[in-house]
């Protein structure tokens, strides 16, 4: 009814008059929108455009899909792609699992204990990735590092964590899982607090075990939040850069080379800006596809 009315009104008043009448709306949105258009939207569009150019210090010429052809034939790019997938697939499930476990475990405790643990897990999250990377570079030090010292108690010989192409990537994944998850725990806890308590009480009265309660009540009800955390986590970890830059520079033997780091090197070390743009575009497409897949996979049976 209302819709019909407003449509009639719209039809009667010409567009420019409606725009003039609501000029305050434009006035308020414009300051941010103009910056957003120049520094966000324009780069997105221009990045697509640049990806068809040979763009560097010496030349700025249109080369069609040559950049993309080059990328798909470049072994290093495939290596980086594989590494990025390995890193993301390693980190996201483990870190989500850790966040879920912590959320479920702290739930029955008193508010003060819950807050304490949430704070402990959140603390690394307000510490910058550069600092975390610097700390772990020290922890991973093969000769004097804390980790090898700790393992020596179990009779394990020193491991050259980051200096070996077999262990470098798993080390980075382990570090990310150990330090990460703080904000997801907060998100999941908030979602869990909104589940009516009598759901759990009723299930307990029925004699349901912890696992049954988790599987049949907690997990389905947290699904939308898990989906959100999973997509955001995938996007974030797929772009991992700081720890690679500080800790390994993609080595040894390119075993920790990620796409984000390859884009950075291509653009700001070799100044092949067109090629780097094309890589960014491929990364973007992959992320959109991953987002859709996760949404279909987990979102298919979201139920309240």
């Amino acid at each position: 009814m209302n819709n019909v009315d407003s449509n009639i009104v719209k039809a009667k008043i010409p567009l420019h008059k409606r725009m003039w009448k609501n000029k305050a709306g434009y006035f308020f949105v414009l300051p941010h929108l103009s910056l957003f258009a120049i520094f966000f939207l324009l780069p997105v569009g221009w990045g697509m455009y640049l990806s068809f150019f040979d763009y560097n210090a010496f030349s700025q010429s249109f080369i069609g899909i040559e950049n993309y052809k080059y990328i798909f034939e470049d072994d290093l790019f495939w290596k980086a792609l594989k590494n990025t997938f390995a890193y993301t697939l390693g980190v996201v499930p483990l870190w989500l699992g850790k966040a879920l476990l912590v959320t479920v475990l702290i739930y029955p405790f008193h508010k003060k204990i819950r807050t304490f643990f949430k704070a402990v897990f959140y603390l690394p999250h307000v510490t910058s990735s550069v600092i975390i990377a610097m700390i772990w570079l020290w922890v991973f030090n093969p000769q004097y590092g804390l980790l090898n010292y700790f393992l020596s108690f179990f009779g394990i010989d020193p491991v050259i964590w980051l200096g070996n192409s077999m262990t470098a990537m798993p080390s980075l994944i382990m570090m990310q899982v150990i330090m990460g998850g703080g904000s997801t725990i907060v998100l999941l806890s908030a979602a869990m607090a909104s589940i009516p308590e009598y759901y759990f009480e009723a299930a307990e009265l029925e004699g349901a075990g912890s696992w049954a309660i988790f599987k049949n009540i907690t997990l389905p009800l947290l699904k939308p939040t898990i989906l959100y955390a999973m997509i955001m986590g995938t996007i974030a970890n797929f772009q991992t850069f700081s720890n690679i830059y500080i800790m390994t520079q993609g080595g040894p033997e390119f075993s920790t080379l990620t796409i984000a780091y390859l884009v950075y090197e291509t653009a700001f070390k070799y100044y092949e800006l067109g090629l780097a743009s094309a890589m960014s575009m491929i990364m973007f497409v992959i992320l959109v596809v991953l987002g859709i897949v996760q949404f279909k996979w987990l979102g298919s049976n979201v139920e309240y």
Partner: protein
Amino acid sequence: MKAKTKKNIKKTISLIILGILGLLAFIPLLWMVITAFTQPTLTMKFPPDIIPKDPSLENFADLFSRKVLFRWTLNSIIVAGTVTIVQVFFCAMAGYSLAKKRFPGRKAIFAIYISSMMIPTQVTLVPLYIIVAKFGLVNTYAGLILPAISAPFGVFLMRQFMLSVPSEMLEAARIDGAGEFRTFMKIVLPISKPALAVLGIFTFVGQWNSFLWPLIITNTNEMRTLQAGLSLIQEEVPMQYSYLMAAATFAAIPMIIVFFSFQKYFLRGITVGSVK
């Protein structure tokens, strides 16, 4: 009675698991602080001293003699501070407009904002650098600040919050003869304080910790922010761990203070968007 014992056992096991996971995340941070207070010569030994013998301030004295450190800190304060203030204000304005004003095109604008939130920074990095360079803003505060302000997330957050501001209140102000901007300043902003605080705190922390953009857009030592400066120290003296950990501690402390001062905002999560 039996049920109670079972519950207690469960709780104890829970605490043990939580304790182990928590310690794993906390020990590296503690280790940073401990190493920072260890004498440089005692860092390179095995086994390491878990509690440093003769804790020393030598590392910090060394660190503070590097004068450019204070310039980096100042840069970080200027950049994070300016971005936070302008971002919060602009996002509040835009969010208010998109939530409460009925101008032609607002649905399209909001749709563009929402879909932009999924676009990773890597996609815009290279073209953004070229655009900022064309404006002649490489190695300037404007170059550090302007792109950060234009992030779309804050607009979305503010718009969701502003939807809950009662329209009658705005109407009443209008009838009282208050102008549009006055209404915004005197009514909309004050009732939005919780949302402004959340956006402000998260923006400040995010900007303080931001690394990739400052690394790219600055090219002299003096213009680096603290994070970009840290990475430089790491490259210069990769093996002087006690010195590096002192630098890391120095850079981490402001955010740890922010975290404990505004703990409830962090631990409540961004639920502002779903306030009814």
